[in-house]
Structure formats: structure tokens, C-alpha cells
Amino acid sequence: MQQTCVTIIPKAPASFMTGSLLTTSNGGSTAHCTVADALPPPPPLMATHFHRSTALLLLLILPHVLVGPVLASGGPDGGGGASEEFSEELLLKPLPDRKVLAHFHFQSTALPSATNGRHHFLFPKAIAQLVEKFRIKELELSFTQGRWNYENWGGSDPMSSTNAKPPGVELWTLFDLPITEVDATWKNLTHTLSGLFCASINFLESSTAYSAPRWGFHPNSDNLRYGALPREAVCTENLTPWLKLLPCRDKAGLASLLDRPSIYKGYYHSQRLRIVSAKLTGIVLEQTLTVVLQPNVRRNNPVSSTAGSLQPNWSMSSVFKKKITGQCVLAKVSRVFLELEESLVAELEKRVSRDSWSNPLFELSAMPDREIKELNALQDQSGSILYEFNVANSNEYEPLDVGMMWKVPLVWSCPHAPFHVSRFLMGSGNERGSLAISLQSTQSHEQFLGGSHACTVEVVVFQVVPWYVKVYYHTLQIFIDGKPQTVSDVIEKLQVTPSEDKLLPGTLELMLRFPCSMHSGTLTLDFDKGFLHIDEYPPDANQGFDIPSALVSFPGFQSSRSYHEDDSLKDSPLLLKFQEKNFMRSYTEVLLVPLTTPDFSMPYNVITFTCTVLALYFGSLLNVLRRRIDEEERELKSKAARPGLIPLLLSKLSSKLKRRTDESSQSSPSLSSSSPSILGPKLLFKVILVAGLAVFWNYFLNNG
């Protein structure tokens, strides 16, 4: 609410507001709210609506006013308005584990810079300049919090292969530059991006942080640089600059749904930016935000949920705490899709002869405008279904609120990738360990490939390892179903860039060929843990160091959806994206390597220790050099002849004392006989006397 107040004030016409603003002298956001309440004739709710609609009107008019003359002057080529396009789409999908996936997809396109000069109408200038300056062919930057659950949220659909990203920041760029300039440009690019997105992407500048994969990450890429920061925390400060790239920010359209507390409360949050630029087509900026949210946090009985209780009912207003009140007026396309998983549709068809969206299993809270069916490769199976909702039909009074109400408990599962990949560390201690990547068959590739004949599955592993994890690549071992394999039998292609201390991370690109019948396969690599330089350690005791996620892709499997060819599909960038043929990919977990942490108080100890030793050494050396033995002997003799004052006094005192304590000492003669020669009772007595005096003195002083 606060946010809307702030935004509307500057947009509202001054003449409309001035009178009431004068009555309340408060500035800022609160002023507006009080104003709305103070107006007597219309009820307060109406007042805000009124304000908002005027603001919208203004928004509608403003671009026309601003853009109109420019267009007119832009002149003869005519298609200037269509040259830059913006589209906004949202895909909602119920997930089998009682969560909801929301995928926002914003796309802006701009013509090649030659045609329209430096100026853009919709396309963010910052990105256009970035592309121009650094000669970017392709760039992808993602900020992710949480892990994508490949088992429950899908592993083979386009959503997981392109939008599931490793935790933290991942950046890769394909440059259109001669190979000698790539590294320098990358360094500048990281700094620019870190300024643009308020993130520490500049840590990728150092040559130890990024790598240049040849074919393992992206096919035939010489000018590609890849870097990941698994530890980067993602927050609203990264989202705000990302939203600034949208023409309507988050003030209107689908982006207005982005309620910060709700989207950061989710189980997965990935904010992605992808730029593709080509000479002919111009620049395409694709901004996506994928969040997985838990509809309602009400604690339900977990025991009965196994048997099957209702999936939680959800709607946009319950998940995002907001509704859609109209599209971003600058958007060419503004749609909301609701996707039903393939197996859910199968489940649906099993129960009921499906006619429309009114069915006995669930109820949609809004009427979809269209239903799009997936064309499955195997015709007898049912494909996923998309319900399309047009945002343009909604307005302030009739907001769009897509949701689902379940009537019958349903259990379905997600499509899996052929193998479930996990990566882990083996061994313990600070010296060495091993890195293992294990592939567990999900049995789903049989449905992709069909048939049980001798087939093989290609798997590409791309792994970057920081230099302080010193991997011995010759120790690569591959096990298939518990049997060790000859490495050359399994490996198709191999590319290793060994790490260099403090200079280069190690990069491993592996293409493996496994038999289809494999149930589990494992790769292991041994490594030693290196020592960091003292200033490379974090200042305090640390948790450990990270190994970034590995990427495992399956070139034999394509994750794409195909829909009925239709004109309306052409203008939906999201669905076009879904129809692109991409490899199935999955990222593994980030790993934590505990390294030896030196005791940093050690230097202090060493300094004190060395100083002591040096003092002792120099003292004795000086003693030896300075001393003249003859003279000393003479002195000793003279001293023997004439005893010093204190020994004299002491001996006198002791003789007196001895006389006095003669009686007592006589009673215990055995003591003197047992004790050694010099340590007579005399000496003991002296010591005790001194100690007693000291104690008495201390006691006396303290009391006083």
C-alpha cells in the first residue's frame, strides 16, 4: 500500500492534488493516504480507485505524447513502433509436492543499432550500451536462492532445463571478439554488471574465478567465459535494478504482482537475464523470474497427507497477496498461463471424460480464454495443457485472479530427466578427499527412447574446480552398477584444463556414453586440499570453501514442447521459448570443502617465542664474549677471602637462629640424614621463614 501511495503522487496531475495537499502539510507517501480519507463526497476506496485510474490514464497518454512526435520524425520506414516490442507473460503451475510454480517472462526486443541510432523507446538503454560496448553475442546472468528440486518439480521439461540454476550467481557470456581481447572484456563486463545489479559479480574478474569451456557448457563456443559465485546472497537489491529494465517497472502489468515478502519467502527464487544479440535481428532481452511458493502455510496433518488429502487451494491473491489489475500498456502481449502437467492430465482423463475446464477434480477461479494442448511425440499419450488468460480484459474493477480449487485429492508425478544426478565429497579430514558424481537412473529414458535394444545414453559433465582443490584427473574412475569400467570405454570425449595455483581453476569437460540399462553410475576423482595464501583466507574462522555446481547435460534428450501451429502462438515469446530445442540439463549441488584453517594468533605466538629465544641467545653470546675468565677467577678468589655483606649477615642470622632452634632440630635427626648434603634443615628453615614472612606481609597489607 505504501508503495502505491508513493508512486501515484508524482504521476497525479499537480492541479488535481494541490488544494488537498495544502491542507495536510505532511510530505511524502502518508500525505496521499490522508488526502484520500479527507475528501468528503466519495468514499475513500473510490477515491483511491479514481486516483489509480487517472494515473493509468496518464500512463496511457504519456508514452503516446512522448513517443508520438519522435515516431513522426522517425519517418519513412514506418514500422518504428513495431520495431521495439515488449511482452509480459506469466506461467503458473501446480507442483506435485503441494507447491506452486510461478514463472514470469518479460521480453524486450530492439532492432539492430544501425537502424535506430542510439535511442530506444522501450528497450533499456543500459543493456543496449552494454551489448554494444562489450560486443556481446549472448549473455546470461542468474541470481538464485534455494535449490531446484529435480525430483518433484520436474527434470525434463523446458522449465527445469533452462530456468533451474545453481544457487548464487552464474554468469556466462559469448563474445563477438577476437580471442585475445576476450579476457580483458570479460573483466570489464563483470565490473559493469556488478554496478548494474548491485552484486559482487566483480569477484568473477580474477582469473581464478572463471573458466573458458570449449564444448561442455555450450556447443562450439570459443569465446565463451563462464563463472559462478555460489556464495552470493540474493535479495531485493538485486531485484530492483532488474525491474528497472522493464518499461512499466513493477507499477503495472504482471510485474505488479511481485510482492517482495511473498516472492522471497518461497522455496526457490531465480532471477535471470538473458541477452541475445545478432546483426540481423537486433537485441533480444529476456528477463525471467522463477519462484516456487508454498500456497498456504497452515499446518495440516502430515500423516493423513500420505494417504492423500486435498492439494492446497491457491490463487494469485493468496500466493502473491495481490491481483492483476490490467496489463502494462506498453506490452504487446500480456498473458497468464496455467499449466497442467502431463501426468496430471493423464490422471484427469482417467477419472473423467474431459470436456472443458469445469470438471469434478478442480475448479478454476477465472474463465480461461483459450486452452492449448501439447502435441506429444507419442500420439496415444496425453500432453500437458495450458489455459490461457488474457490480462488485457482485466481492470481495476475486475481484477484477474487465477487460482485453482481442488475437489478431489490427486497425486501425480513430474517428468524426470533420464538420470538423477547428485554430487558429493568423500573422505574426511583436511588433507585429501574425493569428488564423486553419481547418476541414478530414473527409468524414464525408456519412454524417450523406447525399446530395450542395446542403446546408449550420452552424458556431458562440465565441472569447474577452484585451484585450492587440486584434482588429480588421472584418478578418474567410473563405475557402472558397481563394476569398475575402463575409462576409455566409457569416455567419448574429454577436455581437461588443469588448475594452476592462484591463477586458473581446473575445468573438466567429459562426454560419457552409458548403456541404457544402467541403473547407477559413478565418477570419482581424487583431490588434495591446497593451502591458501594468508590474505586469501576470510578474516574469521570460516565455514569452508565452495566448489561450484557441476552441470550435467544429456545431448540425446531434448526438452521442448510442441503445440499446434497457430498464429496466436507466434506472438507468445514464452511458448516460442518452450518450443526451442534444448538439451536436458541439470545442475548438481554446491559442495563445501573444509580447508585447513591456520591459527591466526600463531604469528603473535611466533613473534613472542622468537623474541625470547633471540634474547636468550644474544644474552648468553654476549656473556661469553664479554667475560674474561682469568679476571673472574681472581675476583672469585678475592670474593672468597672477603665475603659480601648480605651473605655475612645471613650467615650470622642463621647461626643465631640455629642456636635457638637447636633443641627442636635435635628431636628429628633422621630428617637431616635423609636429605641431601647441601639441603640441610638450615636452608629449608630459611625458605620457610621467607615464605612465611611474605604471606604475613601480604595478609597484613591487604587487611590494612
Binding site: P230, Y267, S422, F479, A541, G544, S675, N702
Partner: protein, 712 residues
């Protein structure tokens, strides 16, 4: 301390180099120094309970108890329902898989990832090279061994909602699926309710793993088997797997082999990152009724390793200040009632009062009852560390550098009572939730607090800087006494012609030693031979454990017989120690040097073993004299020395010491010769370095001691 004391009288008349003179002085008064140091060492040991400090939570990031516990009556109901389910399952005759499956289904019900970990118990065998290696003995089970028996752990993992999955917290509940008891069911119920609570919370940053460990082969076995598969899995596992499969078909337990949850393959091992900490949760029903529910903390892992003190601190803080539980740690019960300890306590109390009146800043205020309890706890703490055997399944975690403790909750009232059971669940659940939340807050590893410490009460500890004083004092006289024979003659000469001899003093010293060096070599040969013999004795059990069906008594007798004959054979080969006139003084000094090195090394490996060992070895080394050489001293001294020597000779021999201890505690009727064999077996099964100490340091020392006693 002693050195300073001695320095004073001599310091006034310093003539040549101070250090050399000081050393010479100490050596010349070795008898006095050793007596003083020894007594001071014993006194310092007795004073440790007084010097114990209060514990405090050192790592600020832990923030225990800063959040309100969310564990509510609803969770208690869930726990009760789960316990009821388990108890219902108990009545059904089954294959032992029902309860693991029930636990697994419940885990899956709260949205966790579930899998079943099957493991085979490993056979206990003596492996001389496996000491210090972190993994316990793993023996592939032979075909003929009972293949029907393998355990099934149910493991559930909650992935932290927004976490990156790099770290995990482990919760362990051991139970026996074949014969589940009410207390075990309660611990499972408690763990389940916490688990289901944690699956809902949003503050988790680390994954939570719940291991319901099948303890039919012992609690430790199942946990260590799981940890081994977690950290160092064997991929080349064809033979073992086949074995299991074969067993399956023969037993027609097809369902045990492939358990599925929600259609997923539940046999694939899953992991959850580096472990940050582990809690082993147990419920124990005590016979006697108490006022309050109580909590016993067990922390000792193998070879005297302890978890970080902060982990114990947060448990103690939350249990006492938040949940009002009575926290206990293990004590030696017999010491609590001992009269002499109480009288020592009285003296200490009086001394403390005097010290306090001298200087009020000395806050050594301890009552005699506190002292007795403190020292009984300290003794137990030291004993458990010294024996080198973990006190529970948390020990398995320490082998992988994971901090872990066992929390044994025992309810104050009968568990049959529904109300008290609910209250008990509520307290226990809130405690565990708080501890997990605290550990979850931790950004770093546990590093802030102590790793080397003794506990004298749940909230009092003695750190390494304090407890090593006693040990240092005990072994300080050893090098001095060892050097003494080499400078003894020199000292005499020094006293005879004092006049012009001083400058050439160091020179004559060297000559003396070089003259005596031949004899020294003879003594060293004898010592070397004894140590060689000790190594043989150490390795003998490896061969004897290969013999099947042998009773402990026979084993022990064979061990002793072979050891004795080995000694005799060594005599034949290398010559008797008495043959070439080897002086007993030199033999003693070399033996002391060897013992000193042995104790020093052991103090690095396992301090408590070295500490307790030093209590016996140091007097033995210092007091030893041949029985026939006592004629020159007075009669009363001679009798005293002889009795001391004989008593030490008996106590110093490990088997007799064990038998006497056992006889005193359990009555002499039950003591058998085989007991020592059983005990030694126990030590090497657990890879305890104490076994190495006993046979490589203590036994040769004792053998040489007896040699010297019998010296003609």
C-alpha cells in the same frame, strides 16, 4: 614450581652459567626434586575440581534460547499418535521391516526425502594396523555367516527451504526393530514430532537428517555403518550386494529388498552436505522416580576426543534455563561415598577458606560435598577419555570430525501416565528444537570453544592449560633422574676439590659420560630387547584371533605362555640382561628415558591415558631398586622401600591391576583369568590407543622394573 623454589637459595651465589648450574643443581638433588615434583603432581591432580571454571557460551552466533520454541501441544499429539502406531506394530509378528517402513512412511508424509540404508554388521577382528584410522574395521562378511541378518536404517532428509544444502544437522534415534521397547518408541515419537515441525519452519539454513538407526547389532554399528557409507562409499560392491540378494531369495523376504515410498526408489543413498553437528537422542526409563525429568549428556568419543564444549554448553543452557530439566553427566558412583575423598574435601574446603581470607580475589570457594561430586565426575570423565572407547553412538561421528553428543532423556514419572508423557514430550521437543536452531544459526564450524577439557559438573570444566600442570609435574623428575647417574661421580669430584676445578667443569663432565658410554649401550640393548618383546606381545592377539572357538581363559593363558617363551627366546638370542655386567643404575636411567618418551608421546595422542598411566609409571620409575641392594640403608627405610616396590610390581602389571580393580568392584568370586583377554579385545575392537600404550609403554616399563628388582 619446584624449579623456582630451588632457584632461590642457589641464585645468590651464581658463579658460572646459570642454566648449566641450575641443571646441575637439580640433577644433584634429584631425589628431593623427584619427591617434591611427584607429590606436587598428585596434589595438583587433587586440586583440579577446585580449579574448574564455569562454562560459558563462547560463540555469539549460536544465540541459544533467543527464539521462542514453536514446539507445541499439536506436535505432542503427533508424537503420541506415532508412538501408538509403533506400539500397535509391535504386536504384529513380522519380518522386522515393519517399523523401519512405518518410520519411513511417516518421514515421507511430512515431505522429507526418504531412503532405507541396509548394512551388514562387521565382524570384530583385531587389525594391528587399524589404530588411529578413522574407519573401524570393515570385514566383508563371509558367505557362510548368517546372511539373513542385516539392519535397515530409515533415513529422512529435510531440505532447507532457501538453503544451499552445503551443511546438515543430524538427529539419530537408535532402536531395535525386533524388540522395540516403550522408551525406544518414545524416542522415535519425539524425534518424529521434531522432524515434522522442522519440515514446516522457514528458518532452516542447514538440511536436517533424521537417522532412525537399527540397533539390533548395537547402536554404534548402525550409525558407523551409515556414516561410512555417507563419507566413503564403496562403489565396487558387487560381491556384497550379491550376497544380500542371495540371502533374500533364500529367506523369501522379497519385500525387504526393494522398499518403495511413493513410487520412488528408496534404496538409493542420499546425502546432505557436510555435517555441522549431530545429536543422538535416547529416552531411558529409570526405575526410581524423580522430582523432575532429567537429561544425561554423554560426549566422550574414541581416544579421548571430545566435541566442542559449546555444543555441551547450549544443551546445558537450554535444558536448565529454558526447560527446567535436571542435567547430569556420568560420575563414578563408588567415589561419591568414599570416606577418604570426603576427608580430602574437608581439607580442601578449609584451605580454600584460608586462601579466601588471605586474598578475597581468590574465588576458590568450594564445599566439601561439591568437591566430592566434582572429583567423582572428573574421575569418570578422565576414565572414559583414558579408556579410549566412545560412550555412545555419537563416537562414530567424531571419527569424521563431526561434533556430536548423546542426550539421554529420562522422565521423572512413569511413562504410562499420559499427562506426564505429554509434558515430557513438550520439554524434550523444545530442548531439541532449541539446540537444532542454535546450531542452525552457526555460520562457521564449531571452533570458538574448547576441544580439550574435562568436565567436573555439567556446567564446570577444566581446560587443558590447567589439567596439564599435574601431568607436567609428574613427568618432570623423569629426565632429571635419568641423567643423574651420569653426573653423580662428577658431583662427588666437584665436592672434593672445589678450589680450582670450576672452569674445567663442563669438560670433565663430558669425559665422564664418554667413559661410561659403553655400559650405557649395554643397558640400552636390554631396553631395546624388552620393547621388541612388547611389540611381539602386542601383535600376538592378531594370530590368536584367527583360531576359532577359543575361550577367553585359554586365550589368556596362551597369550601369557607365548609371551613368556618369547622373552626366553629373546634372552637366548640376545643374551640375558644380567650376563654382561650391566649396572642396574644405568638400566634404570635408560628405562626412565624410554618411559618418559613413551608418556610424552601418549600425552599427545590421548592425554588422559598418559595422565593415569603416569600415576603408576612415575612412582615405579623413581622408586625402583634391586631387592638385594637394600642393605646399606636403615631398616625401616628398607622395609618401606621393599613393600613399596613389591606393591608397585603387582599393581603395575596390567592384568593383575585389572583383576584387583574388578575384584574390588564386583567381588572376587566372579573374577577369572580370561577377563583381561576380554578387556583387551574390547580395547582393540574400538581401536583404542590405550591398548597400544599398555603394551608398548607400560608393559616394557614393568618388565624392566621387575628386571631391576631381581637384579643380583
Amino acid at each position: 614450581m619446584a624449579t623456582e623454589e630451588k632457584e632461590k637459595p642457589k641464585g645468590g651465589a651464581a658463579r658460572s652459567r646459570l642454566i648449566v648450574r641450575l641443571g646441575a643443581f637439580l640433577v644433584s638433588h634429584n631425589l628431593f626434586v623427584s619427591v617434591v615434583c611427584c607429590i606436587a603432581g598428585f596434589i595438583a591432580l587433587l586440586l583440579l575440581p577446585v580449579l574448574a571454571k564455569n562454562t560459558y557460551i563462547s560463540e555469539n552466533a549460536l544465540m541459544p534460547g533467543s527464539a521462542n520454541p514453536a514446539f507445541s501441544a499439536q506436535d505432542v499429539m503427533e508424537a503420541n499418535r506415532f508412538v501408538k502406531d509403533i506400539i500397535d506394530q509391535r504386536t504384529i509378528e513380522g519380518t522386522g521391516i515393519e517399523i523401519p517402513r512405518l518410520v519411513g512412511q511417516h518421514m515421507a508424509g511430512v515431505g522429507a526425502e526418504v531412503y532405507y540404508h541396509k548394512f551388514l554388521p562387521h565382524k570384530n577382528q583385531f587389525h594391528p594396523l587399524h589404530f588411529f584410522s578413522c574407519t573401524p574395521n570393515t570385514v566383508t562378511v563371509q558367505n557362510n555367516s548368517s546372511c539373513a541378518s542385516f539392519g535397515v536404517n530409515s533415513v529422512g532428509i529435510i531440505r532447507a527451504p532457501r538453503g544451499d544444502g552445503k551443511e546438515a544437522i543430524v538427529l539419530v534415534t537408535p532402536y531395535n526393530p525386533w524388540k522395540i521397547e516403550l522408551s525406544e518408541a518414545l524416542s522415535l515419537g519425539l524425534a518424529f514430532s521434531i522432524f515434522s515441525l522442522l519440515s514446516q519452519v522457514s528458518w532452516l539454513a542447514k538440511d536436517v537428517v533424521w537417522l532412525a538407526a537399527d540397533s539390533q547389532f548395537g547402536e554404534y554399528t548402525s550409525v558407523s555403518a551409515w556414516l561410512k557409507d555417507y563419507h566413503s562409499p564403496v562403489f565396487f560392491s558387487e560381491s556384497r550386494k550379491m550376497n544380500v540378494d542371495v540371502c533374500h531369495e533364500s529367506n523369501s523376504h522379497q519385500d525387504r529388498n526393494h522398499i518403495t515410498v511413493k513410487g520412488e526408489n528408496a534404496n538409493a543413498f542420499r546425502r546432505a552436505g557436510t555435517m555441522a553437528a549431530a545429536l543422538v537422542l535416547k529416552v531411558l526409563e529409570k526405575k526410581e522416580r524423580q522430582e523432575r525429568d532429567s537429561l544425561t549428556i554423554y560426549a566422550e568419543a574414541s581416544n579421548g576426543q571430545m566435541p566442542n564444549l559449546d555444543l555441551i554448553n547450549i544443551v546445558h543452557y537450554l535444558a536448565v534455563h529454558r526447560q527446567g530439566l535436571r542435567v547430569k553427566i556420568a560420575t563414578i558412583g563408588s567415589l561419591l561415598n568414599s570416606v577418604w575423598l570426603r576427608s580430602v574435601g574437608e581439607i580442601v574446603q578449609r584451605l580454600c577458606r584460608v586462601a579466601k581470607s588471605l586474598d578475597p580475589r581468590w574465588k576458590y570457594d568450594i564445599t566439601s560435598a561439591d568437591y566430592v561430586e566434582g572429583s567423582a565426575t572428573l574421575a569418570s570423565s578422565m576414565y572414559h577419555q583414558a579408556i579410549g572407547v566412545p560412550t555412545g553412538s555419537h563416537g562414530a561421528f567424531r571419527d569424521y570430525q563431526v561434533d556430536a553428543v548423546t542426550l539421554e532423556l529420562s522422565p521423572g514419572f512413569s511413562l504410562k501416565n499420559e499427562n506426564s508423557q505429554s509434558a515430557f514430550f513438550l520439554r524434550g521437543g523444545r530442548l531439541i528444537e532449541g539446540v537444532i536452531r542454535s546450531v542452525n544459526n552457526l555460520l562457521e564450524k564449531f571452533h570458538q570453544s574448547f576441544f580439550l577439557y574435562f568436565l567436573t559438573a555439567p556446567n564446570k570444566f577444566v581446560s587443558v592449560g590447567v589439567y596439564m600442570i599435574a601431568f607436567a609435574l609428574l613427568i618432570a623428575p623423569l629426565p632429571i633422574v635419568a641423567v643423574a647417574p651420569f653426573s653423580g661421580k662428577n658431583e662427588i669430584r666437584l665436592s672434593t676439590d672445589k678450589g680450582n676445578q670450576t672452569p674445567g667443569y663442563t669438560c670433565t663432565d663430558e669425559i665422564e659420560i664418554s667413559i661410561g658410554s659403553w655400559k650405557w649401550l649395554h643397558a640400552a640393548k636390554v631396553v631395546f630387547m624388552t620393547h621388541l618383546w612388547a611389540v611381539i606381545v602386542l601383535l600376538l592377539p592378531y594370530f590368536m584371533s584367527q583360531i576359532p572357538y577359543i575361550s577367553p581363559t585359554t586365550s589368556m593363558l596362551v597369550w601369557v605362555a607365548v609371551a613368556t617363551s618369547a622373552l626366553l627366546i629373546l634372552y637366548l638370542i640376545l643374551g640375558s640382561p644380567y650376563s654382561n655386567d650391566c649396572e642396574w643404575v644405568l638400566l634404570k636411567s635408560v628405562m626412565i628415558a624410554a618411559a618418559f618418551i613413551g608418556l610424552g608421546l601418549m600425552s599427545i595422542i590421548n592425554f588422559s591415558t598418559a595422565q593415569i598411566g603416569a600415576l603408576i609409571v612415575v612412582p615405579m620409575c623413581l622408586i625402583v631398586r634391586p631387592l638385594k641392594r637394600h642393605k646399606e640403608v636403615a631398616l625401616c627405610m628398607r622395609v618401606m622401600l621393599m613393600t613399596c616396590n613389591l606393591v608397585l610390581a603387582v599393581i603395575g602389571f596390567p592384568p593383575t591391576a585389572l583383576l584387583i580393580l574388578k575384584g574390588l568392584s564386583e567381588g572376587f568370586g566372579r573374577v577369572g583369568i580370561g577377563d583381561f583377554w576380554v578387556w583387551a579385545e574390547f580395547l582393540w575392537i574400538w581401536n583404542s590407543a590405550t591398548y597400544l600404550y599398555l603394551l608398548l609403554v607400560h608393559l616394557p616399563c614393568w618388565a624392566l622394573y621387575v628386571h631391576i628388582l631381581l637384579h643380583p
